[in-house]
């Protein structure tokens, strides 16, 4: 993929879209390079004179400034690495799950510990702090107190109406933290377990803000089952399906993952998405087969492709196009058969092209575009622009003749000539200027080719040709 520098410069110059051009001045880049040389040459004597390295900003300049916290943490990390490894601690289920249902009283008591907010001395204590404890707070007062992080009991809100009033009050206060707290109190788990979801979801429908807080809370807490139930009772089947589909990401074993995906197909997705999930399942199924097969072949070491291009990674869980590319590396033309999904001609071509170009099978590349017409003549056509084809071939270091062949096929003359210049297909450029009878351009171009080269001679011959009626 190494591109020579002149190529790049050339591209920036020759690029057609000048309207918002990023940089249009060849001189500037070259002068920048000169500056760089100049500056680098200065470096040498600067270093000579340089005794006080650290006259720069201390914190920021060396790779990891000494004394910085980031630096220090790296130090601890490397020093602890030598220590013995620890027994793995099983997180979650094995740990005793103590704790009550969501008793808020204890929670908000904690908030009322002596305040440590001595932050800005200018900030005075809120006036409301001077109130004393009263057990029967109105919804408004309760929410206010919760916002201040002070003790208050939610146990007094017992009827559904009271609960909803409290919830609405929390929503009015806009404080997400309080909304979540009230939600978890209002929708105590026991409600769910006693199938009161119907009641709750009715109340929740019209309380979108509260609902979103509660859903986010359940997501963060990993309450998958509860969420599924909630979505179901809200009639949000698509959200429910996506939530369940998402679970596949946490399954590491590919066979189990495949089985899980299979069970996802019947989830209530909209038709398009259902198709995608089906594809996902089929793809993984095929990948498991391919993977087992190719691993075996590779180990036996008899397949040419694997010798030339050893498999860098497993094909499992790769996207469809990657799988197609992978297969194209081995069997260029049988492929569409092994793929689960409808791949467009364009997608297939781009992928096959990249794969064959990567293997430097230029003949194969040719056959991708060749079609026969009814008279039996072969012709090259492509669902993607040939300028794109040229670009891909160039990125795969195709030889000059191959590039030239495809540049020739570009239809738009302006595009063709700029590509020909970019990839140094001199013959095409020269012939096109000759056909256009553009003497001036030809002379300019002569200045760009090497003196005494065949191109130079060719141009000279054309220019000397008195038969041509030049337009300028």
């Amino acid at each position: 993929m190494m591109r020579s520098k002149p190529d790049e410069d050339d591209y920036w110059n020759s690029s057609k879209c000048r309207a918002f051009t990023f940089d249009d001045d060849y001189d500037e880049l070259s002068s920048l390079k000169e500056s760089k040389r100049a500056v680098n040459s200065i470096r040498q004597f600067v270093v000579d004179e340089d005794e006080d390295e650290d006259d720069m900003v201390k914190v920021s300049w060396s790779g990891e400034p000494i004394g910085s916290i980031t630096w220090s943490i790296k130090e601890t990390a490397s020093s602890t690495k030598q220590e013995q490894s620890f027994p793995k601690i099983d997180s979650g289920p094995s740990l005793p799950r103590q704790g009550s249902g969501y008793s808020l009283s204890s929670l908000f008591k904690a908030f009322s510990e002596p305040s440590t907010r001595n932050f800005a001395p200018e900030l005075r204590k809120p006036k409301s702090e001077y109130k004393d404890y009263v057990s029967d707070w109105s919804p408004e007062e309760t929410v206010k107190r919760m916002q201040r992080g002070k003790f208050c009991s939610l146990e007094t809100f017992r009827s559904l109406k009271d609960k909803m009033q409290l919830l609405d009050q929390a929503v009015c206060a806009n404080d997400g933290n309080v909304i979540t707290a009230v939600c978890t109190h209002v929708f105590l788990q026991k409600y769910f377990l006693q199938c009161k979801l119907e009641v709750l979801s009715r109340e929740l429908m019209s309380r979108d803000v509260a609902l979103r807080h509660y859903i986010h809370y359940l997501k963060e807490m990993g309450e998958q089952k509860l969420l599924v139930e909630l979505f179901k009772s809200l009639g949000r089947t698509e959200d429910m399906a996506l939530l369940q589909y998402r679970e596949h990401l946490s399954i590491k074993d590919e066979v189990r993952r495949k089985e899980y995906l299979k069970s996802c197909i019947s989830l209530p997705f909209p038709p398009d998405d259902a198709g995608h999930v089906q594809d996902h399942y089929t793809l993984l199924e095929r990948q498991i087969i391919i993977e087992a097969n190719d691993k075996h072949l590779e180990n036996k070491g008899q397949v040419e492709v694997f010798k030339k291009h050893p498999r860098k990674a497993s094909i499992l869980n790769m996207p469809i196009i990657t799988t197609l590319y992978y297969s194209c590396l081995q069997f260029p033309f049988k492929l569409s058969l092994t793929l689960p999904s409808t791949i467009s001609e364009k997608q297939y071509l781009l992928t096959a092209l990249s794969a064959r170009a990567k293997l430097k099978e230029w003949l194969d590349v040719g056959s991708l575009f060749t079609t026969k017409n009814w008279l039996g003549y072969t012709k090259k056509r492509s669902p993607i622009g040939f300028h794109r084809v040229v670009d891909i071939l160039h990125k795969n270091n195709a030889p000059a003749q191959v590039l030239q062949e495809y540049v020739c096929l570009v239809e738009d003359p302006n595009l063709k000539i700029s590509l020909a210049q970019k990839y140094k297909c001199h013959d095409i450029v020269i012939d096109m200027y000759k056909d256009q009878k553009d003497r001036q351009q030809l002379i300019v171009y002569q200045g760009k080719v090497e003196r005494g080269s065949p191109e130079d001679k060719k141009i000279q011959d054309i220019l000397n040709n008195t038969q041509i009626r030049w337009k300028n």
Binding site: R3, E8, Y11, W12, C17, F20, F22, D23, D25, E28, S31, L32, S35, K36, A38, V39, I42, R43, V57, S60, W61, G63, S68, I69, S72, I73, A77, F86, I89, L95, P96, R97, G99, A110, A120, E122, R124, P126, D175, N177, T180, T184, R202, R212, H216, M221, L234, G235, Y245, L249, D272, H276, V277, H280, P319, I320, T322, Q347, R388, I392
Partner: protein
């Protein structure tokens, strides 16, 4: 190159006070746990912490060892452990596991969690559920504001965006209000607050309540006006490729907390180097706001000047040489170092951008902004996807297409989505669901007939089917109206006009003269009109929620007041990009304002898109 500022532009307040306050409070909190302790720090708090404190300071307050929170078993042998974390459930669960593992092993230690900037109810629920409530003491470190530069303050809360706009969780609203309150009590009183967006309104309310409950001591106001803006007012701007130097550096190298790591290809040494990018860097401060195409010329000129300055040495006598060394050499050496660094960075960026056919990408973006050759753009995006070029860039282009075209035609939506899933993985179904939820990538809805029905359905919300319908409407309500807005506010200059990027004539220069950032244009218009009058149509297309409030208090001497009036704090809720900051700096120079940007985080297109991904567990 450096634009001459209007001479009467006011001075910016000194925000280093914020760092000092945060540091003092942290020390206070550490002292609440006397004796030796190990400190575990959440990974993304490390850089912000580095900006305000250092190891020596922590050691002075009995911190023994420092660790990064990594969700693995801990190694500490200390009998006191302090955790400095963001209020995230994942982290608290890990702490609970750690404490419970100690318990099981019969190890007894003291634990303290310091949540910053505040604790959340949900975090304490975890402690309670895991049975360690009470075994662990908790505290809050109100570290709201980190000054990244003279005119940039960040809350360093990238999750604000997703939590608020995608999940609809308003947990950060109070944080925003408190941040504003802190600035108000230190640099206020503010006299006028403008704003637009639902979150902006709520943050304003939260701030107002906090002001009511505290007393503002009489002081000279240093910041007069405030502008609050929600990120979802303008998604187009942060999704565009950045071409101003600072933005480009962020797009390519990712600036983290005002600091960037340049690899060996830039430093031309064998190791990479962390560099602070701010106004202290004299070379950077002159090029940060420039269009990239101007940067070369500038750096070349600088290099020549430097050469000349060094060349002066030749032919000096001893005395002159001594003066030269003592007075000039140090400055020259520093400049030299900076210069070679930024030349290296420019060169490396140029190479990377050439490789990915940046020209063509920009051309497509500009066509989308202009609403020109849309079919061609779709073909380009399609091929981008088919060739499996950057997953994030493809997604970004799709979103730009949807935002500028008010949604995709159902046929295009289906086909592009399918191809995307085929190229980058079917699990991106989840990403597409998120993008639709946020209104970033949607299908066009069939016409206005639905909108008329919307109000009727509102009365029937108890009906399940109606609920589903309102769901459909709410995505309709998120219609971006970009084309109409662009026309109304003249965001896209007429084609065919030459745009001299060396002498920018408006904020469009930050996007090569192709587009004036919507967010910044709104700010300009509102400041000019001193309110929203005359912008009714615009705000209607932006879903309303605009406001302007004037403080009732007055006083302070008139001269000072006028100065502070021209200092404007712009708060971006959900993040802002470097290009927007550059545009505001330009606007400030033109109109004699000074803008201070207060943002929940610095974002760019990649960070915005990454926040939408759901394909990890």
């Amino acid at each position: 190159m450096a634009h001459s500022a209007r001479r009467d532009a006011p001075e910016l307040p000194d925000f280093s006070l914020l760092k000092r306050l945060a540091r003092d409070q942290l020390i206070y909190l550490l002292e609440q746990l006397p004796g030796k302790k190990d400190l575990f720090i959440e990974a993304d708090l490390m850089s912000p912490l580095d900006r305000i404190a250092n190891v020596t300071m922590l050691k002075q307050h009995d911190v023994d060892k420092l660790y990064k929170v990594e969700n693995t078993p801990i190694f500490s042998t200390c009998d006191q452990i302090c955790f400095l974390i963001r209020p995230r459930i994942q982290t608290v669960k890990w702490i609970a596991d750690t404490v419970n593992a100690d318990k099981a092993a019969g190890k007894f230690r003291k634990y303290k969690i310091i949540f910053t900037p505040q604790k959340f109810y949900a975090c304490e629920t975890v402690l309670e559920e895991q049975g360690i409530y009470g075994d662990v003491s908790t505290d809050e470190w109100a570290f709201y504001l980190l000054p990244l530069d003279d005119d940039i303050i960040s809350l360093e809360l990238p999750e604000f965006f997703r939590d608020n706009f995608l999940e609809g969780d308003q947990r950060w609203v109070t944080t925003g209000g408190s941040a504003l309150h802190l600035l108000h009590s230190l640099f206020g009183p503010f006299s006028k607050v403008y704003g637009i967006g639902r979150c902006a309104k709520m943050v304003y309310e939260s701030w107002r309540e906090q002001v009511e409950e505290s007393e503002q001591k009489a002081q000279k106001s240093e910041i007069g006006n405030v502008f609050l803006i929600d990120r979802d007012v303008d998604f187009v701007t942060p999704l565009c490729s950045q071409v101003v130097y600072e933005g480009l550096v962020d797009d390519i190298f990712r600036i983290k907390c005002g600091c960037v790591e340049f690899g060996p290809d830039v430093t031309t040494a064998d190791k990479s180097m962390k560099v602070m990018l701010n106004s202290q860097d004299k070379v950077f401060s002159e090029i940060r706001n420039e269009h990239f195409s101007n940067v070369f010329g500038f750096l070349s000129q600088k290099a020549r000047n430097l050469q000349t300055a060094y060349d002066k040495r030749r032919g000096m006598d001893i005395k002159q040489m001594r003066t030269f060394v003592s007075e000039e050499l140090k400055g020259l050496k520093q400049e030299h170092r900076l210069l070679s660094l930024h030349i290296g960075a420019s060169e490396s960026m140029m190479k990377k951008k050439t490789k990915q056919d940046f020209q063509e990408l920009l051309k497509t973006e500009h066509s989308l902004l202009e609403g020109f050759d849309i079919r061609e753009c779709i073909t380009y995006i399609e091929e981008h996807i088919n060739r499996q070029v950057s997953m994030i860039d493809s997604l970004r282009l799709l979103c730009l297409l949807s935002l500028t075209e008010n949604g995709l035609l159902p046929k295009d939506y289906r086909s592009l989505k399918t191809q995307y899933l085929q190229s980058y993985g079917i699990e991106h179904l989840l990403t597409f669901a998120n993008l639709r939820q946020l209104g970033l990538l949607v299908e066009q809805q069939p016409g206005d007939a639905l909108t008329a029905m919307e109000s009727k359905v509102g009365k029937l919300v108890n009906d399940k089917t109606a609920e589903k319908l309102t769901g459909a409407f709410s995505s309709l309500a998120k219609k971006s109206n970009f084309r109409a807005l662009s026309k109304k506010l003249a965001l896209v200059p007429k084609t065919g006009e030459e745009y001299d990027l060396r002498v920018p004539r408006d904020m469009a220069y930050v996007f090569s003269g192709a587009y004036i950032p919507l967010s910044c244009k709104l700010i300009e218009q509102v400041l000019e009109r001193d309110g929203w009058t005359g912008l009714e149509e615009v705000t209607r297309m932006l879903n309303g929620n605009e406001f302007v409030v004037t403080a009732s208090h007055s006083g302070a001497d008139a001269r000072f007041k006028t100065d502070s009036q021209r200092i404007i704090l712009v708060m971006f809720l959900g993040g802002c990009s470097y290009s927007e900051i550059s545009a505001l700096r330009f606007l400030g120079r033109e109109k004699g304002y000074k803008f201070i940007v207060l943002t929940t985080a610095i974002i760019n297109s990649a960070r915005l898109m990454e926040a939408m991904l759901d394909n990890h567990v």
